[in-house]
Assembly symmetry: C2
Homo-oligomer: 212 residues x 2
DNA sequence: TAAATATTTAATCAATTGATTAAAATCATT
DNA sequence: AATGATTTTAATCAATTGATTAAATATTTA
């Protein structure tokens, strides 16, 4: 009788708090903060509305929690890679492109969710608390990049140029998928296939952009 | 005595309807549909709330109007260029990159506004009514591209690849500016300068991506 | 088992928000 | 100026929404 309760097979696999959190991620990311009703989250989680305020104090608090986690998921793709000491720049880029491909295939709404909530600075405090700047500029990757520039391998430009190109080429097609699918006259499956082909090109492309 | 009224010097330069429209563009684009209060728009326009519903029937109707115009502004950058018959592919890309640079320097929120409102398909009907597909695939640019591929100038890939790379390189840095500024440790002015430098590189980069 | 603690529910509140209404003000026409 | 149409305003409504409360149920502890 020590344990709480024999969990049901499916719907009770997660604790109430975890159910709310998962539902919140889903609803916040697809509808955005302002369009999300706490009742939608409660319904999605299959719990009473009051429970949401029992576990998290408010909609805003719950959102902050979800947002921080989402930002973490998004940034981790980079942070995991950029401090490896035994891989080349090319290998790092390939790893980052692959990781974004995997992440955004599962959660294509992630970048727009983050950027659209960030835009007016309502929740923007979050960004400054994550110490992004240090993570990038003090990384092993930053040293590698500097060295490559010194050796004349790359044009002498701030590293952020490469980050822009890498992200633009790897992430933007996921963000603009609803539009690009129509323009390119592709269904979801064809678009997937296209993105998979691109994946293998992006590393070379990024390298090329740094050479000219 | 034929004319309506001698307009005031500044604040009455525009008709009431125009004032509401301009205020709506501003508020909708910075806060998004759901976070926008019709009262905010009325206040921004300096008019009574009821007037908003007098000129436009509802918030949704006003939004549709703003959204259609915004989509138009965003697409026009391309549509203006892609049917020119006496410019090269390189010149067209340069023109598009320049036009996006000008547009997004003035209105950096535009892409995220469009994509974030499009994401859940609530207002998505709009997209399908614009005949995007035809505009692109029946353009002179499409013929030029096809020819370049036949001549072996570009790798044989659907034109949408180029559109993705062009937009990713030219537009994404504007969308992610709040994040990239922190990562790159740049203030707004430095970021502007950086973007201006990039502008002159993007055409070459895009061409390169199509050659390998 | 009994008491104490933690979790869950139904009902309700107060504030916000999109929209309407009826009256007032302005403008155009004669 | 008198009349009619258009534009503007203040007041208000009904629905939604985030949050709370007090009671009920379940779980842990003594």
């Amino acid at each position: 009788m020590a344990k709480k309760k024999e969990m049901g097979v499916l719907e009770e696999k997660f604790s109430t708090e975890e159910k709310i959190r998962r539902a919140a991620i889903k609803v916040f990311q697809t509808k955005g903060y302002a369009a999300t009703r706490t009742r939608d989250i409660a319904a999605e989680a299959g719990i009473n509305l009051a429970l949401l305020n029992y576990y998290f104090r408010s909609k805003e608090k719950l959102f902050e929690s979800v947002m921080l986690e989402s930002m973490g998921d998004f940034m981790q793709v980079m942070t995991v890679v950029i401090n490896q000491e035994n891989t080349s720049i090319e290998e790092k880029i390939t790893a980052i492109v692959g990781a974004y491909h995997d992440l955004l295939s599962e959660r294509p709404e992630l970048p727009i969710f983050i950027l659209s909530e960030l835009r007016n600075g309502n929740h923007g405090v979050i960004l400054k608390t994550t110490g992004l700047k240090k993570i990038y500029q003090q990384s092993f990757f930053a040293q590698q990049y500097k060295l490559a520039v010194e050796k004349g391998k790359f044009v002498d430009r701030p590293m952020i140029w490469m980050v822009m190109n890498l992200m633009g080429l790897a992430i933007f097609p996921f963000m603009a998928a609803p539009m690009l699918q129509i323009v390119g006259d592709l269904d979801a499956k064809q678009y997937d296939k296209l993105m998979k082909s691109r994946r293998d090109c992006i590393t070379n492309w990024v390298i090329k952009t740094m050479k000219s």
